[in-house]
Symmetry: C2
Subunit: 295 residues, 2 copies
């Protein structure tokens, strides 16, 4: 059941030298444990996996596993442009005690379906950890066809899908997606402003950026969705609309790195070319955090 419920994706705080700030990461991860999230999605896109060197990723995994002591499953992104690098990252994650892997078809040269399929075969065969397909065309620029997703889901090690939810979150849509997969395959959704509704409509998982920093709020939504309480979910979602607007206009990653500082957890440094939000944008983030009583 590690691919069910709320999977919280924390930021990875870096210091000015570009190294993982382990103490700050532990603070963030402890918040997740305290809120009883169902899993931690370490080194996701929000966790800057694409920008971090192998040894920094390893330090982040070791610190997180050590901090959680098996209380919450840890899923780690093994995405890389090269197959051999993805395999090395998968092996690092397994050795460091991760429970599952998230694998995105990171691309530069546009990839063919067969190339992505063989990439997943190679990585899944290199590890005993279960694997979640990371479908995020906004960053990887690869669009999965339903046929490819079904083919990947038939691989023994591939157990889950992280799918970017959109306006279409009704149960007919969820069922039509689910029809491509084996019975025990976990179908989960990213994009925070739609994913809880997708969960209400039958999705197994909410892969959440908000949950990585405000896990209590995200757990409330996840709980309402799991209990089938659409009215309560709508109410909670309405309260979070100002945050969703910030995510849409300023990007959830940049908003979260700003929020972690406003909340006094740490002062993370984004790896260039990424730039922090401007002062007036940070004030908007602070205002929303105040409304949510998170600062």
């Amino acid at each position: 059941m590690q691919f069910h419920g709320l999977s919280a994706f924390p930021v990875t705080p870096l210091n000015t030298g570009g190294e993982v700030d382990v103490a700050a990461l532990e603070k963030i991860v402890l918040r997740l444990r305290q809120a009883d999230v169902d899993s931690v999605g370490l080194l996701g896109s929000t966790g800057l996996y694409a920008f971090l060197r192998r040894e920094e990723k390893r330090r982040a995994i070791e610190a997180t596993v050590n901090c959680l002591q098996g209380s919450v499953p840890v899923m780690v992104s093994a995405g890389a442009l090269r197959t051999d690098e993805a395999i090395a990252l998968a092996q690092d994650a397994e050795e460091a005690g991760a429970d599952a892997l998230l694998l995105a078809p990171v691309s530069y040269t546009p990839l063919t379906e067969e190339e992505v399929f063989q990439h997943f075969v190679a990585v899944s065969e290199s590890t005993s950890l279960p694997l979640c397909i990371y479908n995020n065309p906004g960053t990887t620029h690869f669009t999965f066809t339903p046929a490819l997703l079904a083919r990947l889901a038939s691989l023994p090690g591939v157990k889950a899908l992280k799918y970017p939810s959109s306006e279409r979150t009704d149960s007919a849509f969820i069922s039509s997606l689910r029809a491509h997969f084996p019975r025990d395959f976990a179908l989960g959704f990213s994009v925070d402003w739609h994913a809880p509704e997708a969960m209400l409509a039958g999705g197994d998982t909410w892969y959440s950026v908000l949950g990585g920093l405000l896990p209590a709020q995200a757990m409330s939504l996840a709980l309402a969705a799991r209990q089938g309480d659409g009215d309560r979910l709508a109410l909670l979602n309405a309260e979070l609309q100002p945050m969703w607007t910030l995510f849409k206009t300023l990007s959830s990653l940049r908003v979260m790195y700003c929020a972690v500082e406003i909340m006094g957890i740490c002062t993370p440094v984004l790896p260039r070319p990424l730039l922090p939000l401007r002062a007036e944008e940070c004030r908007k983030v602070e205002a929303v955090l105040r409304e949510l009583k998170s600062v």
Copy 2:
């Protein structure tokens, strides 16, 4: 004038260990010198820069510079996801004797205009080499606005633009683009099946994949374009239509790595997840090379 005329983009041959096959690279580079191309675009997208480690790129640059002995300017891609890595690559290229840099806004997290601008500022300030903006949304997934291109062109180190040509290659379009740039700024075009026409219509440069392996054929087109001989250019372009069709359907990168083997130059290994063309696709490439009397 290093950003004018035919800039030939060779493949970077790798051996089974993933290392640059220096002897094979030298063979390819010597063909370019013999054909008297105007510059070599080393480690472009076709040259796999996105997939190669820093030390391999350095070996490729050193071998090429050593082989050409200053007879042809060498432009090298310094593109990287992180600004500090792009700076390191730029410094490596300068130390190894390159003459110019090509810089793409490689992205994973979608970048803002300001982030890309500051990235170019940082890299251009780190080197004394002139810099060419690499505009290739198909791989970088960043779309330059005309305003950002104009702002970048005003930086002292930024001297040229590699722009992906499209159906619109008339002189009114070229002039409208040129209006954004300083007088001595070099405006050149990629996408082989349109770029020679863009050169005929007033472009300064053809950044050519074909030129990296069949430089004599590419030089004929570049010469016709420079001489304003539209009839001859149309004739030569018609002869190359079967090759352009292969480029469009199988991707120019994969076609070139197949062609280099068919031509007996070497047996390069693509870095996974990239896969070589299938046997029946290679036979099509061979048939076209025979038509062009290149095998």
